[in-house]
Amino acid sequence: MHSSNILWIIIRRMRTPFIVIIVTFAITILGLVIIPGVDNQGHPYHMSFLDAFYFVTFMASTIGFGEIPYEFTYAQRLWVLFSIYIAVIGWFYAIGALVALIQDQKLISELHLAKFSRKIKSLKEPFVIILGYNNTTKELIRHLNEDGKRIVVIDKSQEKIEELELENFMPEVYALKANVNSPDTLKLAGITKRNCKATVTLFDNDFKNTKIALLVRLLNPKMNVIVKSSTKEQSEHLKNLGIKSSVNPFTLVAERFYLALASPNLWNLEMLLFQHKQYVKSYEEFPKGKYIICGYGIMGTVLKDALDKAKMESVFIDLKSSNHKLKKKSAIFGDSQDYKLLLEAGIKNAAAIIAATSDDLINLTILLTAKKINPDIYTIARENTNDDITIFNSAKIDRAYVIEEVVSEHVHRQISQPLADRFLKELYKQTDEWGLELSKTIRTTTGYNPELFEIRVVKSQAFALTDYLKNGGSVNLGLIARDLSDRSKRAKLIFLMVKNRKKEITLLPDDNYEVKVSDRFLIAATKEAKDNFELLVNNLNEFHYAITGKELKNWALKIFEKKES
């Protein structure tokens, strides 16, 4: 469809130039044939059509091989003089039209489209469609790309697409400049392809997200659509439409906040495992006492709910960033009036203050003002965009919730680490003591920054292990958790969770757990132990060593040994 469009544009634009060339050539050739000339011997002759066509061809293109076959008479020269003007101008006009055509924006975009559609058609691996290229999806694309996932991005701005192309992703991220809420575009991006695993729409505008999600569901009912929604009502609405994966950053933050208040050990464990930007160096806890929340928006409300649920005292300061800016004509908090506001809320004896407005600068200045009055206060900020992260870091805010990052992390986990996502859900159900116990184990075995990875017992991911199990072998977890340099030592890894073929979950399987084909494991390990483990389950020799303690001998060595004995 699109390649014919390209041909179309060319034909349409080249019609007039073609006719101009045909006509000018015809006139000049005919003239040359009719006008009599004189040959070497002085006999009159007429130029043949072949000679005339040859002459006009090189004359029009200004190559100019000279007067052939014989020197021209003055009558012929006069005609040629006229011919040069019409044929050369006609020729240049045609060339000019062709050059203009190559630079034509419409043609270029059609060519891009054709190239893009070809690439999508030939894409055989599973891929994810991400709509819109902004701070949130940028992070997400980076993470997914690191996992080797194939991604298709659509954005309506050419600038954004160019920015993405400059990022040099490997494997290539396919980008297209197009309108995201048109069915044609979505089809072009491969939404109906079987290997399209998910579509992600994380725009700030809920209405736009819902519209796109609906469109995607209609085009491909089986598609896993991941949609951002900012309110509870919106999430429920989406659920009614049959969309399971809606991402509400505020609920995510509130859940995490409640966890931090109610079971700090689980919270610490979560941060240990999922490596948030400000991961803990040691045990950290939110202070007990009175909380002041500035900003009664969606964020403020959900945080208040979390505080109430955790039976923590809280005071609200009703502050709306847009109103504040209008009234004070500045995006800064902290004049005498604002001081009074904080003092009235009881900042002197408050344990913590949360700045939850939708303006980062106001949030920052609220916290700085609060610190001036009460230097011991614990500061929590809502950070709306990733761009401001360095400012917040240097302001020494105790804890910042970056909305964009919360979303991108969550979506990344859903797409790329389904097991980790499930584990997190299980984690929220556990007791605080369980969290303390596990954090201790993790810290002693893998240290503070464990890597989280998933492995499935199938040939493509664990060749040697699967091979062994399929040939009737049986292995328990203790046997494969070995250090390859010394079998008697246990590798520095912890099996967090296993999901078997029947989708049953076992949390923290012990060393006696018997490994079955197509089990999925979630493992926390040091970088070294991760490489070690991946080698062990894939390499036949290493696997043999791990379970028997002997080196696997190949046939050549076996023959050699037999001869010796």
Partner: protein, 126 residues
């Protein structure tokens, strides 16, 4: 009156008439077949072809195909002419039959083209 129809109709029919003019006469008597007429036929056929470009309809595509057939036959005829005159050096009379019959083929294509064009015109309500 549709100017575009006048122009394209003019060239399509002129292509056929010129083609007929060249084709008509004894097949092996070259006095009956003017080289100028062949030249004019080729030029007008080319123009007709270009005018037919850019019509996305089914009929437009078939019209374009008939023109392309005529073009190919006429170009073949002129190439045979040129080769027999300058490369093979055996005189034009030996190839006269080939040239004229090739142009006869082109004439058929041109007639089909004109019939299609007329059909389209008659069908049109405007």
């Amino acid at each position: 009156m549709n100017t575009q129809k006048v122009i394209s109709g003019f060239f399509i029919i002129l292509a056929m008439t010129l083609n007929f003019g060249f084709f008509y006469g004894d097949i092996d008597n070259f006095a009956h077949h003017s080289p100028y007429e062949l030249f004019a036929t080729i030029v007008v056929n080319f123009i007709a072809t270009v005018l037919k470009l850019g019509d996305k309809t089914q009929l437009g595509s078939v019209l374009l195909a008939t023109s392309l057939v005529a073009d190919i036959q006429l170009i073949a005829a002129s190439i045979v002419w040129g080769i027999s005159l300058y490369v093979a050096n055996n005189g034009i009379t030996d190839s006269a039959q080939i040239i004229v019959s090739l142009s006869g083929g082109a004439l058929m294509a041109n007639i089909v083209s004109v019939i299609l064009f007329m059909g389209d015109t008659l069908k049109s309500k405007r």
